[in-house]
Subunit: 231 residues, 8 copies
């Protein structure tokens, strides 16, 4: 397939950041290596930065060396960044809490997305409810951070416990961790949606990227409120 | 339909208590009023006691006054007992913990079944995880009771928190409390099955009776162990 | 069932507002009329306000006249408020957008919950995607409001269109509106979760109350962010 | 397995074009390489043309060189054509619109099927609803084309937006693009079926071939109406 | 609830016919009697005609006598028409074929919708596949009609048999007829979607209205093709 | 793992033929190569014959050459027979009809099972409903055969058409052929269960072996009836 | 709706008995009282007999007294017979075994259908696996009857135990008895389909009528086999 | 990824045995080889023992030789033990009964977990219900063992038969053995949950580890009961 033909399949949204505040990311799963390569160079040629998610290590390895050199690849989360990563400073504006070490891959996808947008993040791992003390000893620290992302598979009980302990934004990311009645994350998803702690909202299974985007929307809403206050 | 014809549909298991240690109970849902009435009199004529579950108030009201007089009906749990209820004494051998007041109907079905078998019970209601302090302040008390039944709908997070706090038998009864993605208790059921606290076992949705029977099996297993020790 | 026995089933969370910022509400569905009545008086005796959701008109009509007089009942949303409703002023901080008139009942539950917490709200109804112009002509107005709740059943396409047009917080409430493959809201729920517009988060089906609580969490997070900025 | 035995498994419908207007195509998935090879030669021997769909690149590569030489293989859509492809001329009679570049494989299957039947097609890719402007700027062009096939995964919101903008035939092909609650295309399928835009009809997930056949049925119905008008 | 408040919930699409060729219909299920009444009068005041679907006989009976007098109510299909029904003439342009008498309610909804739009229709009932001769003896007649709507529940085998016999447009409407593994029409829906006869397209379960709208889209597409041919 | 340990996992039912009339077969899927090998030798040592189903070609290839030599392996159905295959004579007592060539693998599993039990079989392939004439021209032949097994995937319309044409035993075997809403055979299964032709019974998806066993039960029931007639 | 209009919806299959050996029955669920009445009179006028299934007591009570007098109504099974019931004699040719008294309604539907066709039946009720002795003591008796119908809800373990004990035809009818994870009979259905006893075949949930038709097919096949043997 | 970074993902619960009576085990599925290696060394450095479950043979083979030497790997169950296995003595306190040889892998996971905790176990394999005699001849032996774990796939009929025969604790572990409507163990799971034998409790699909933990909870509860009796 020629480059021209590839280009006919792509209509990149170069102005998304202006419009909805976050640059378009490329979900690499379901795209051929050629297509990923082509999109990346299109963006590179425009001098823009790009976040690539779900970039399988084998697909990453099959990209051209020239492109690989341009990418900052993180193997746990399967994310890559094209272009420079901004500096972040100050206290964390988003906390990312995961229930088990198997959920860390999703949590890291969220934190990479936020780093791509220069947001300071605090990651807290492996504090699931089976050992409740691990979470309770971090509660004070968490109360100080305006947005909390809860990443949990299986029964996602972490989501409800966090929702009951905290009064700020809690965004749940159910994960596909587990087997059998975990049903590839469907149980964690449903349990998060019907959490007994009210006001928790939910993203798609394993969607660390989406949770980060939701956190960015909260931070932008703040900007809007502040502007309004200054008028 | 004549009584003789009704009797052809019934083959009551009068010796179940001897065989598996608990008298047969009658699940009234799905049976006509006539059939419930006929079974009850059959048992009464044999001089045995009987537990009736899921006896809808309207079906109860439609039973003959003669039978109603023989029944001890409890409206919250929709259970009735035919024949005398035994005395119970001593400290509770089973604790029944419910997440919300809407789950109490199922919890009470369990406690009525245990009362029918003369087991001392402690009921603790409305201690769901959204207000974790309510549960934690009862933890010490719960650690003293050998069998704990956890009754919870929605996300059933109570099950995992109890499983993580306690080392004895924890039997989960998911309930159909809630709406939407609660899916009539399927979410609570799945979440209980994949609880991050290991060794919790699970009964069918809303099956307080079954949880009580499971508790009775534990108490019988003890008897067996003790007999063996004395040999 | 006696009042004392009823009370044993209730463990009201009187301090929830202090802890997680929103007073506990009572979900009346699945509770007997007696229990709803009992909880309401308990709260009334403590001099607190209370929000009742999913209060069926028939259950409302069966409450004691004395309690009915204390309640402000809204029939579209099946909500009631015990105690005074606070004044709200200033521009709307939350917009509630519904796709069809059949979704208005859920949208109104959200707006009643926010009114209970003194948040100014803008409701926009019947602007589903089948007639896209209805929504596009409100886009500018919506861009000014920091939090948007999108209420939609069937295919929930409204959620994605709003998510693509707006950069602030968008909270989706899928509804059970529709029949057949709508599957009581499951399709709207799934479609919202996998919205092609990133950063939209989702509540349980028909859960207007939960969406409002999520909006309140955002407003609290923004308060926290502002405090921190001023330090 | 011998050729004779293979032939016992095949009963090719050589007269389908006469009967229902479209030649039988061979769905290669689920068939052994030997069987695909055998069917192709059977058709070739009869001097007929054949469309092969879901011909995996590895199966294609395993076919005999003699057969490979007879086939026009298109790797994006996994389709092959045996025999000459007809010329197409004049303005497009069918438009094929896809939401994302990952959906292009399905869109291309549809356009290959139509090309096999000499129908002029216009493909428009990557115009999903998250960037609504991409679609709106093509609306006028689309209004001129009698049949529109909408190819979309995830929430399939493109289907409803197209259905609301256009008054002609809109055939939805949900795709399996996406993960988690996308459920291998089930969510896109259900969302398309309950589209808020009325009169949209739906094909099986990823079934670009079927959508093209449906478009061919529309074009044949036209012929029938015209014949009748001329009587 | 006041009329003014009701009106705030309605944003009627008075120009839909101009835009997408079919006037908006009102799905009455899920709307209060007051809301149905209010919408009907709004449309009546504008001097437009209106189709009401899923108007339960009890809701119809509860409408004001003044409105009832304006409505032509058809009890089998639960549809009502406000304003005059147009005359139809000439041979049928759409055939509506139902598998069993229990499916007739859905078939009739389709024919009422087409009658509302002045399309001549031929209804053929109770010709399911269990008695194949019933269908085969109508095959010639059906081949003459440009658009065929197939209405079938249970296994929806009628859809595939029709699709295999006919070369024109076949639109399937699966119905909720049947019990058990019929799953409220889900089985008929899935079977229609994967019909072995290619090019059949599918509507939502019981959606006779949608099938009729799809047929109208075909008739409009044909108009478009004819216009183009005449240019 | 030692042979002794393997043997502890096996409790072969050597007397099944005497008890329920068909020798136990070994479902190889889910068993290790070692276990399959061990079971086969156990049976061989007892001088019995054995049918192996779902024996993947790779597992077959990994068996010891000594065992492979004892096996008659059929690659289409993935079945192997240990020991001699009996002769069959006379007219077919069972017909096996498949809808498409992709279903032949399941049909062949059924015919191999029947051949293992010396039952004469007639296989008819690729006569699905999309080309109804293919089936109708075999109807007379089929009416002469006492038991008919219908093997079909996708919509399984073949099952209903056969059930409507024939008055003898029709056993449906839904297959996993197809994609998308075929749901790995679940749609064919459900459609078969709710077939509009009454008295058709159904086996598990892809279970050609089970259908053959059901046919054997019919043939044994005949024996019973005949015995009774002779008493 | 007029009688003439009703008749347009009906196309009764008066010759089904000749064709597939069993007279058409009318499934009354989903049909209006008027339609049931109309079909019954149509059949009556032709001097034929008719079986009506799923005739709700309220619908039965709403039929005209004239028709009621012609019907033999059986309340447990909700079946009615129009015309004389034939005599049956000799030993039972079909056994109908139910697991619990709640399953008797389905078992009786099967036995009524067989009685309508003059087949001698043996009903055995309430012999579920929880009290295995109840079933084992009937095993000898069951071995003598050529066709066995197993009627069971919940886990349908009865089906597997019967299938393991008996070598003749076993037809499973899963029932909707039970609650929660019984899922309205879906669990019993699935468990029957994957029974560890091979050669059991399955009908739709609660479909006693279908199981009886399947038994009739077996008896006809046996007739065919006997004829052939005598040639 | 560095060791330090790995450690940030792990928060091992070294005191779980003290708290809930069983040492934390590591579920290796879903963890990278590096992470499994890192956790094992962490535990080894603390001088503790560790159970690893679902350790795929390929992951095991990829571990460092140093670690492999420390591990006792059991290939049937995919479990490994780090550190010494304790001696067990005396009669079995837990029986593990499996239905088929394909279920042995799950049964063995349970027995390895119990062996890790020094509990004497009796394994009984391949005694499924299709050959009921195999189970009945072990019934007496089973009645002597206080806790019984029933491991079964497909229809899980073994669970109900055991539950009906025995009066002590019966813990069901449904397995994913089987295909088609077995649905990866969902059918066995549901059938176990709705077992007609009351008081059976259930674990997640294939969760031999969880069943063993549940058995340990029973043994601890019995200890507690005995202590209390001695007070």
């Amino acid at each position: 397939v020629s480059s021209a033909e590839q280009d006919a399949l792509i209509r990149f949204d170069f102005h998304r950041r202006e419009r909805v505040g976050v640059a378009e990311a490329v979900l690499c799963a379901g795209k051929t290596t050629e297509l990923v390569e082509r999109i990346a160079w299109q963006v590179h040629e425009r001098g823009q930065r790009l976040l690539l998610t779900r970039l399988d290590p084998r697909v990453h390895a099959a990209l051209s060396p020239a492109l690989q050199q341009q990418l900052d690849y993180e193997p746990l989360s399967h994310t890559a960044v094209l272009g420079p990563l901004p500096e972040t400073a100050g206290p964390a504006r988003v906390a990312i809490v995961s229930a088990g070490t198997s959920d860390a891959r999703v949590a890291r996808e969220a934190s990479r997305t936020l780093a791509f947008d220069a947001v300071a993040v605090q990651e807290i791992h492996d504090v699931g409810v089976a050992g409740l003390w691990r979470l309770l000893e971090r509660a004070e620290e968490l109360r100080e951070i305006p947005v909390v992302i809860a990443v949990a598979g299986m029964d996602a009980a972490l989501v409800s416990v966090l929702g009951g302990l905290l009064s700020q934004v809690v965004i749940a990311v159910p994960t596909s961790t587990g087997y059998g009645a975990c049903r590839d994350g469907e149980t964690a998803l449903a349990a998060s949606l019907v959490s007994c702690a009210s006001g928790v909202t939910v993203c798609n299974i394993d969607n660390g990227y989406g949770a980060a985007c939701a956190a960015l929307r909260v931070l932008r809403s703040l900007g809007r409120l502040q502007e309004r206050a200054q008028r």
